[in-house]
Amino acid sequence: MAHGNGTNGANGVNGKNGTGARNLVALQLGGGNDYLNTIVPYENGLYYDNRPAIAHDPERILKIDDGLGFRPDLEPIKRLWDEGKVAIIHGIGYPEPNRSHFRSMDIWHTALPEEIGTEGWLGRVIRELDPKSENVLTGVNFGRGLPRSMGVKGVPVASVGNLDTYGLYPHIQDEELRKYALESFAMMYGAKGKDAVMDFLGETGQNALKGADIIRTAPGKYSSTVEYAENPIAQDLKNAAKVMFADLGTRIFHTQYGSFDTHSGEIFKHDLLWQDTARAVGDFWDDVVEHGMADDTVIFMFTEFGRRVKDNGSGTDHGSGGAAFVIGDSVRGGHYGEYPSLEEKDLLEGDLHYNNDFRMTYSSILEQWLGLDAAPIVNGRFEQFPIFKN
């Protein structure tokens, strides 16, 4: 198995750390983030009319331009915005919005709005970057279970719940006993099987062990002045940083946070969610800069839909039309897409109208950043935004 120094890749974007092995860090805000209360149109009277229970105080908005501003706890992202590193994609979505979390997330994951897809777009990216699966760590998810966006048959993806105990037998406390169990597992799965199924199981088991052995070296190699918070998103991004800096050849990082499904108590819940998320992203970026990876790393932050324009008295129900963020030194910071109108006549059943297909943003990232042909990955050819500097 090949690993380290990013030897896999395509279209001239190969290389090792600091020399252009480009990473993508996908951060999923699960549950449907409330766009209106994230990028706030603080000069628009309709905003206050529709949000009597949960409007932000305009005095506290972190103003950017065009009457728009970040919610107060987005300070760490505002800082990156001021440095020109943040692209905001306004009004992102897809035709005929679906307000089911599961279906909508499926659509984002498979890049197929009209039918049920079986391959995840990031899984396809991993297959493109490492067609022979030479590195079982080309794609790593921080969290348990395989996100549908990374699932493609035959493409290995490591799903790391806890980096320190990742792998087999995390429940065995006694180190000696765990070592013994792992050695036994290696011997059992390494033996010749009686048939093809046993051999396949053996090979898969050995791959799992190998991946775990390699990835568990990451914490030992890591040192940083950045102090992350203790919450799950901060820890997941810290783990992503450890794996990235350990130079294991990982190109696609994925994690998620939530739930942003703020039907009730939105003021309190949304505040906490964004305090955690914004600080984690800011800290992660500082860490990336400290380790000389800022030119090689891009964060893509997305959610399955925005929320209803009118609040329901304490929160918001499912809507459509949201915002996504692309962050990095290579990013041409600024606004993309249009902030959707809040006028009653322009709404779609009470929701914001999307004005750009999410596959435009996917295509921009794939072609401009990862140097891949986007069409087979996103199921079609889409116009791109000039999100990247070159």
């Binding site: 279906r103 279970g145 597992f185 799965y189 099987g193």
Partner: protein, 468 residues
């Protein structure tokens, strides 16, 4: 006797969710064929009562994890395991997902229908499936109108549910769809609003109900699979049920779910026999399965451990053997998530094609989850089922056991599980790292018990344990 136990264990891995040694002995004492009959004719399942569950869980009706947990309690506690295994088979075949329906009560109702009708007539089941509200919404039959046909259900009925590609024409799809016009939902407008708003408040979601809208039904003449008439949906499923292709399709799917991932020449002959039972019994699934379970093929050595356990079988089997979740626990929803992490989220099949089974269950992330879950369950000396296994291991022999003997006894109590010589050697060396074991002086949950439990956990990690 030991071979009888092994045969019963094989049957229970397939027709149930594995079984404890005590259960296996009871079944074996009454004989193989009597056990098959007991499975095929479920009585009182004595599942965990809903009022007991609700004392801990205020609602398990909303969202796929909660609804899955509700079903998991039944699988874990039932005394009629095939009655719960059938819905798992039908859920894989008639795969309906939460992602689009957004209504777990309707899918739970569908599972209840599978439980009620899953061993009966295939024709009746297809008719009821065509009236099933979750299915109607899932495959857009509520958008299938007289003069504006939506083919989705008609097509999948023929392609994925009952016949298979190559056994019908595009014209048959259209004609079937026409026959199902007017088979719709009674409360669709209200439910669409509810689904769009996706609000549980204030009363949670209600389920859809079926409605036959005669005014929207195309009652013209149709030609379907070579027959011509003024067909309604009932006629369509009747015609399908008597097709040899449908018999072959259903029996093949049942064979792959219950007997072996791969169908060899001898397997084809078993499917022939199953097909005969299908017609002789008037399309009865129970008769088809009776033929399968009593076939020489199914009972032979070659059929043993010939299927990769699907995640639900693996997880529920380990829980039943370990005696976990005998009373309600909030951790059950985590178990539902774990099945999803392993690739089989209940109510979350990847598409209408259901799950890809067999070897496709095995990928490195899923394998890590499988091994970790089973080894943690089986090595937990606090669980009553694990204690019971250790008791039985201890009682079976004199006070002191060699590592060889210990491995043999543990393999026997967990299955019996058949392992390769290489696997047995590793298990023996693991069991022997602290020398012989004296279980005569054991204290429940003490040092000796933990040694045995650690070995049980490692047996649960073997390649062989991944197979049913």
């Amino acid at each position: 006797m030991d071979n009888d136990i092994a045969l019963t264990a094989h049957l229970m891995r397939r027709a149930g969710f594995s079984a404890t040694r005590d259960e296996l002995e009871r079944y074996t004492a009454q004989g193989y064929e009597a056990t098959v009959e007991e499975l095929l004719n479920p009585g009182d399942p004595q599942v965990m009562p809903e009022d007991i569950i609700r004392r801990l869980h205020s609602s398990l009706d909303e969202g796929p994890e909660g609804a899955a947990a509700k079903w998991l309690y039944r699988m874990i506690t039932t005394r009629c395991p095939l009655e719960e295994k059938m819905p798992l088979f039908w859920h894989g075949l008639f795969a309906t997902a939460y992602s689009k329906t957004n209504n777990s009560r309707s899918i739970l109702n569908q599972f209840e229908m599978f439980r009620r009708m899953g061993l009966g007539s295939f024709k009746d089941l297809l008719a009821e499936l065509s009236r099933d509200p979750a299915m109607i919404f899932w495959l857009d039959n509520n958008d299938n109108h007289d003069g504006a046909v939506n083919e989705n259900y008609g097509r999948e009925l023929l392609e994925l549910f009952a016949m298979g590609v190559g056994n019908y024409t595009e014209q048959d799809v259209k004609e079937a769809a026409r026959a199902f016009t007017g088979w719709t939902l009674g409360n669709v407008d209200y439910m669409r609003v509810k689904a769009n708003k996706d609000s549980f408040s204030p009363f949670g979601r209600i389920a859809w109900h079926f409605q036959y809208d005669a005014a929207d039904h195309d009652d013209g003449v149709k030609t379907f699979l070579g027959e011509t008439g003024q067909f309604d949906g009932e006629d369509i499923v009747e015609i399908i049920a008597r097709q040899p292709a449908a018999a072959r399709f259903l029996c093949g799917r049942l064979f792959q779910f219950f007997a072996a991932d791969e169908v060899d020449a001898e397997g084809e002959r078993v499917i022939d026999e199953m097909t005969r039972s299908y017609f002789e019994s008037g399309y009865e699934v129970r008769s088809v399965l009776r033929t399968l379970f009593n076939s020489a093929y199914f009972k032979s050595e070659r059929a043993r451990f010939a299927r990769v356990k699907n995640p639900v079988e693996l997880v529920v089997g380990a829980i039943r053997q370990a005696g976990d979740f005998r009373s309600p626990s909030l951790a059950i929803e985590q178990v539902a998530s774990i099945c999803f992490y392993m690739g089989q989220g209940i109510m979350r099949p990847p598409s209408v094609e259901g799950w890809h089974e067999g070897e496709e269950w095995i990928e490195s992330g899923a394998l890590i989850e499988r091994v970790n879950f089973v080894s943690e369950e089986l090595s937990n000396v606090d669980l009553p089922g694990v204690r019971r296994i250790i008791e039985r291991v201890a009682a079976s022999n004199g006070a002191t056991m060699t590592p060889d003997e210990l491995v043999e006894r543990c393999l026997d109590m967990l299955g019996p599980v058949e392992v390769s010589e290489d696997t047995r050697e590793v298990l023996t060396s693991y069991a022997g790292r602290l020398g012989n074991i004296d279980l005569g002086s054991r204290e429940p949950g003490g040092r000796e018990d933990r040694r045995v439990a650690d070995l049980l956990g490692l047996i649960g990690s073997t390649r062989e344990f991944q197979m049913a």
